[in-house]
């Protein structure tokens, strides 16, 4: 692997080979290309920027080893997204357990409503509301909805994110969350109901 190869134009296959061999720059290319949707799903599943960044940290730290198990039979982006989803769900379970023991202010109501307030442990953060978009009324409503989503209980939010954003089937969600297919559908229905209530009252 010579140093003068332009990593930005490398194919997925070559990047994978480079990352497997422990190339830090190749890992950077993966980060550039795929981190944004990965961080988004981690954030939406855990409901906290700090937790999402912890998930990303673990995913990228483990990626060179995990890629050895990656068989090039599907889209790399989809595989990474699934990997992040599963890691985030695991993290969510452990934080849920942790929250049972200690009252954790980080993911309390205020933290969920204001992602910026929840980043004391993260090094760099940009809240979703700060993206470069016109602050039109439509976008403002969308942000309200996003915050309403993040403040849903874990059980409802995970199903909503997996189904409506990540487009998993109910059968896959049922398997990932160890619930029944109909429970997945009912949770989705309840999530919609709460979000409708938010958008009406807002």
């Amino acid at each position: 692997m010579s140093a003068d190869i332009d990593t930005s134009s490398m194919s997925d296959a070559r990047i994978i080979a480079a990352v497997r061999s422990g190339d830090g720059r190749a890992l950077g290319v993966l980060y550039e290309r795929f981190a944004r949707p990965m961080l988004r799903v981690a954030y939406q599943l855990t409901g906290s920027v700090a937790d999402a960044e912890d998930v990303m940290h673990d995913v990228f730290l483990g990626l060179p080893d995990a890629l050895r198990r990656y068989e090039e039979r599907g889209q790399l982006a989809a595989w990474l997204q699934r990997l992040t989803t599963r890691t985030a769900l695991n993290a969510l379970r452990t934080t849920a357990r942790r929250r049972e023991r200690t009252i954790d202010g980080e993911r309390g109501a205020a933290g969920a409503m204001d992602p910026n307030g929840a980043t004391s442990t993260a090094s760099v953060t940009t809240a979703p509301a700060m993206t470069t978009r016109d602050a039109s009324a439509v976008v403002a409503a969308s942000i309200d909805l996003h915050q309403a989503l993040l403040s849903l209980p874990d059980s409802l939010r995970t199903v909503f994110v997996l189904r409506e954003i990540e487009q998993y089937s109910h059968a896959e969600i049922a398997q990932m969350l160890d619930i029944s297919v109909s429970a997945s559908e009912i949770r989705l229905c309840r999530a919609f109901k709460r979000l409708r209530a938010t958008s009406r009252s807002g």
């Binding site: 961080l39 990997l83 398997q175």
Partner: protein, 720 residues
């Protein structure tokens, strides 16, 4: 016409929110149970449902446009720096067909020292990560893989704070080294093995004090292919993750023949194994997360010339089949499930180390102390000398320390004493006799009788010769309205003053495969009629660990009250006039829930009874009676309750000490001349001595208390 339309419109039911969501999502396939056309027709008319669908679609659309936070560059730099410093993290698998690994997990976010990682990774399908505050906490980790799809992992890790099992997707004998394992070994001597059933109780004082778990072990003859076998069944009682384990041994050689285990609960699996020559073949079928898998087992047993045992919790079988003495020593091996290569043989060394007397729940029992060891695990077991039943186990490993197995039930395969019927008393606090009768236009009056007495003579040898008597105190009628109850007690209805009791005396009991029919005389309000009462055996007869044998029936019966002269009048209550009286239905539905019990003296705890029986055995009845007579009256009253002395007499009678029982009961009658129960028990004790005296005692008991059904039943039987 218009109001009909309005009625129809009002009666329209809205589609469920689920149906509206399905409609809104458009992700419907052929299997969609929603009637789309029906929902669409409804939406045309219903504005509120239309709004729900529109709002749902708008939310779904916005959700797909949600943006996340900007990935911080510093995060990547931190990752690269940590990686070059040797930090590693193990991630869950992301292949779509893999099991999701949700349970048995410990902390996921982890930096594990590279050396530890190498032990765990090894190309296995499931990988687990442990983030410790410092890497030194993780002392050791070991993994085993099962080399087939889907990949599974079984193993354990040692943690500074004690053992824990990292993950075990399929059960293996790796459990044998986890704190919850029970040591498993087998019988050594086929001649000493006997059929029986034992209930035992595990206490875990070190971990969850007060937690008691109950288990049952049963040994029963079985056959396979014409070969006689012993089947050994082992199950936890009422455990959420119930496991039923059956192992079959050849009856002559005690070689392992086959094994079947089944686990119910959230994760289910079924194991069937056969032991053929030097091999184990079989299959583990598991259903986890609703995905069925089958895992073949094909393993060769190591040739070490050992006897092999299988399964958990077969300690009882082992010691029942071994003749212990002070120098006894043996080696056996526990055979695991053969699911992983190392999961086969755990050698167990056994040695008698002591001869002691153990006191459990106040009873002193001579016992052998046996040391058991398997690797670093060591346990001490106390074995009752009389029959080889393990009474107590104390282990050394982690949370295992301080196990106590208390045997809560003797073997129950011994026949009831000389085939005589066993008398069960009606347990009024767990029985219910209720009735319901129609009144006016569709109303119902429900009520119950609170005062119930009864005796069931259950003849195990000749079930059809069983019999039952029940007596109901009519004045205990309770319909939830005291005024109505007074009316019902009056001459208008039951006339309690003249007819205080309602009785049912069985004439025949026919036991069917499902239902039992009691035919007998029902007496009420001075009228006796034959009724046929089909009942359903709800439980028993069985011994429960608290020291009772119980049997329960339920049934329903419809009777015509007017057949019994219960006509209803308005003497007591003028509101209940002829017209209202006429609306009171003639047929009355009676529901019966009857629980009967009898004490198991070997298990039931009663300090007074046990003390009396023990002293009669030690010093003889004369010494005991003269000691009792010497007690002041108030001390007698306080320390010799009639119930306990009567029960002591019954136990003495059961033990074959008939004359002692008669002497004790005679003394009790001196103290309580009007005790119907004491006369009834005395009559029963006298039956084999002098039937006429027995009859006289029964008659005396019935005269003192017409509801003394114990005397009624035995008197009836004696008369036959």
């Amino acid at each position: 016409m218009e109001h009909v339309m309005r009625f129809l419109r009002l009666s329209v039911t809205h589609p469920s929110e689920l149906a509206l969501m399905r409609f809104a999502s458009n992700h419907t396939g052929a299997d969609d149970p929603t009637n789309r056309a029906g929902v669409a027709r409804h939406l045309v008319r219903c504005e509120s449902c239309r709004e729900v669908v529109q709002a749902t679609r708008a939310i779904a659309q916005s959700a797909r446009a949600f943006d996340g936070p900007e990935p911080p560059r510093a995060l990547l730099e931190r990752v690269i720096a940590e990686r070059s410093a040797g930090a590693r993290v193990l991630l869950p698998s992301a292949h779509t067909n893999d099991f999701p690994r949700t349970n048995h997990t410990r902390r996921m976010r982890a930096i594990v020292a590279a050396a530890v990682t190498a032990l765990v990774v090894g190309g296995i399908g499931y990988q687990r990560a442990i983030r410790a505050p410092n890497a030194a906490v993780v002392v050791a980790a070991r993994g085993d893989t099962i080399d087939s799809a889907p990949p599974t992992f079984a193993g354990h890790a040692a943690h500074r704070e004690g053992f824990f099992t990292v993950s075990s997707l399929l059960p293996t004998a790796a459990y044998a080294q986890s704190p919850s394992a029970r040591t498993a070994v087998i019988a050594l001597d086929p001649r000493r093995l006997r059929a029986g059933r034992w209930t035992y109780e595990l206490q875990l004082p070190g971990r969850d004090s007060g937690l008691r778990e109950q288990a049952v072990v049963e040994i029963a003859p079985a056959t396979q292919g014409g070969r006689r076998q012993w089947g050994v069944y082992d199950a936890w009682l009422g455990h959420p993750d119930d496991m039923v384990d059956s192992v079959f041994y050849d009856a002559e050689s005690l070689q392992l023949a086959r094994r079947a285990a089944r686990r119910v609960g959230p994760s289910q699996y079924t194991i069937s194994q056969r032991f053929v020559g030097d091999s184990i073949v079989g299959v583990i079928q598991a259903t986890r997360y609703r995905a069925p898998t089958a895992q073949p087992i094909r393993r060769v047993l190591p040739r070490q010339g050992r006897r092999y045992g299988a399964g958990d919790g077969f300690l009882h079988v082992f010691f029942l089949g071994a003749q212990l003495d002070a120098n006894w020593h043996a080696q056996v091996a526990l055979v695991g499930w053969g699911a992983v290569p190392s999961d086969l043989v755990y050698p167990v060394d056994l040695r008698v180390t002591g001869d002691t007397t153990l006191t459990i729940t106040g009873l002193k029992t001579p016992a052998w102390t046996v040391a058991m060891s398997s690797g670093v695990n060591a346990k001490t077991v106390w074995i009752r000398k009389r029959d080889g039943v393990p009474l107590r186990i104390v282990g050394n490993a982690g949370a295992e320390r301080g196990w106590i197995i208390a045997l809560v039930q003797e073997r129950t395969d011994k026949p009831a004493s000389d085939g005589a019927p066993r008398a069960y008393r009606l347990d009024a606090s767990h029985s219910d006799v209720g009735f319901a009768v129609g009144f006016m236009h569709g109303m119902q009056v429900r009520g119950r009788f609170d005062e119930l007495r009864g005796t069931l003579l259950l003849d195990a040898a000749h079930p059809d010769r069983s019999s039952v008597s029940m007596v109901v105190g009519v004045k205990s009628i309770n319909t939830g309205s005291s005024f109505r109850d007074q009316h019902l007690r009056s001459k208008d209805f039951f006339d309690v003053a003249t007819f205080p009791r309602m009785t049912f005396i069985s004439q025949r009991i026919q036991f069917g495969r499902r239902d039992t029919v009691l035919t007998g005389d029902l007496s009420m309000h001075g009228v006796t009629r034959e009724v046929r009462l089909p009942v359903h055996l709800r439980y028993g007869p069985e011994s429960i660990p608290q020291g009772h044998s119980t049997v329960g029936f339920s049934g329903t019966l419809r009777i015509a009250r007017k057949d019994f002269g219960i006509l209803g009048g308005s003497t007591f209550n003028s509101w209940f006039d002829d017209i209202r009286s006429a609306t009171l239905a003639d047929s009355v539905d009676v529901t019966l829930d009857l629980g009967f019990w009898d004490a198991d003296f070997a298990v039931e705890r009663d300090a007074v009874r046990e003390a009396i029986v023990a002293r009669v055995r030690e010093r003889g009845i004369d010494a005991v009676l003269s000691q009792m007579r010497a007690m002041p009256a108030d001390a007698q009253e306080r320390e010799l309750p009639e119930w306990s002395t009567n029960q002591a007499a019954r136990q003495l009678l059961q033990d074959g000490r008939r004359d002692d029982a008669i002497r004790l009961l005679t003394f009790t009658i001196e103290r309580f001349p009007s005790s119907a129960a004491a006369h009834a028990y005395l009559g029963h004790a006298l039956e084999t001595v002098d039937q006429n005296r027995a009859r006289a005692e029964y008659d005396r008991a019935i005269a003192l208390d017409p509801a003394e059904t114990f005397a009624l039943e035995w008197r009836r039987r004696l008369g036959r």
